[in-house]
């Protein structure tokens, strides 16, 4: 195994692990804020949870971008062969 492959594997793992930190914190905050809003105003729960779902999927996309980068490094790396 050469150094490029080694570096690619390490950086793929780092991309996913560090890329998951931000979205995890953000999703926690978003859900906490939504819970707060629903507790204050239960009659708006439908609208809040619909917007929450869309927002969560948007946030999750950031982690998915990192996953795509990791898979690019592992499977479609132009520097390897």
């Amino acid at each position: 195994m050469n150094w490029l492959a080694f570096a690619s594997i390490i950086s793929a793992a780092m991309a996913v692990s560090f890329g998951a930190i931000g979205p995890a914190l953000a999703e926690g905050r978003a859900v906490a804020a939504a819970m707060d809003a629903i507790a204050r105003q239960p009659e708006a729960a439908n609208t809040i949870s619909r917007t929450l779902f869309v927002g969560l999927a948007m946030i999750e996309t950031m982690a998915i971008y990192c996953l795509v980068i990791a898979l690019l490094l592992l499977f479609a790396n132009p520097l390897l062969k």
């Binding site: 917007t51 779902f53 869309v54 927002g55 999927a57 948007m58 999750e60 996309t61 998915i64 971008y65 996953l67 795509v68 898979l71 690019l72 499977f75 479609a76």
Partner: protein, 232 residues
């Protein structure tokens, strides 16, 4: 393990290689078109159960367009509705054994994102003329022209990577868990995948609406602002 980024050609149609994803796309298109033709063949003022169900779908799409774009939904119903229903059916087609959702391949998503990119230009020019459409790049002020121009490209790319990444990662994770843990274990993940598929279809349609609304209604700039703020 095969790469999730490449797809294998099943056979060649002239010079064009046909992959499993393309075949699945054709099958979904045939089912949707034939289903729509059969469902709308005998429309009556007092709807049957089938017609009522389909009217419910159309009314829901109309309501979403009205809520998000704040315009009359008629010119956009066909495009947005087709986009949503196609992506939804494509994401859920993994329920049938042996079929990989076509949206898990990057070329299908690239085609869909290109359609949205073209539709923004088409609807923008149809609403305000070429001058009016180009003027939307200069809002809120002319300093933003390069940024708005780059944004119109990058948001198309992010639309493509978002759908591809979400659907592909679901398929990929199920494959990994299946090879590690065996039969029946990935069922909860598949259920989660169905939820993700539905939400991603909804988001793709909503974002297409927001992008089109941004090019169409200059006099009503607050259309879809709450979603747009999340998206950007």
């Amino acid at each position: 393990m095969t790469s999730p980024l490449s797809s294998v050609a099943l056979f060649h149609l002239g010079p064009a290689p046909i992959t499993a994803g393309v075949l699945a796309t054709w099958a979904i298109m045939a089912v949707l078109v034939l289903g729509s033709i059969l469902a709308t063949r005998r429309l009556s003022l007092i709807p049957s159960k089938l017609q009522a169900a389909f009217e419910l779908v159309v009314a829901t799409v109309d309501g979403q367009i009205r809520d998000t774009m704040r315009v009359e939904p008629a010119p956009y119903r066909a495009f947005i509705g087709t986009l949503f229903i196609f992506i939804f059916v494509a994401n859920w087609s993994s329920l049938l054994p042996g079929i990989e959702p076509p949206t898990a391949h990057i070329e299908t998503d690239a085609a869909l994102a290109l359609l949205v990119f073209g539709a923004v230009i088409w609807f923008g020019i149809r609403a305000g003329g070429v001058r009016g459409y180009l003027a939307t790049f200069a809002s809120p002020n002319p300093i933003m022209i390069p940024l708005n121009f780059i944004e119109s490209l990058t948001r198309t790319f992010s639309l493509l990577v978002r759908l591809f990444g979400n659907v592909m990662s679901g398929v990929f994770v199920i494959g990994i868990v299946l090879s590690l843990a065996g039969l029946l274990v990935p069922i909860p993940l598949m259920a989660l995948d169905l939820l993700t598929g539905a939400v991603q279809a909804y988001i793709f349609a909503i974002l297409a609406m927001v992008f089109i609304a941004g090019a169409v209604n200059e006099e009503n700039p607050d259309a879809g602002t709450s979603i747009k703020r999340i998206a950007s």
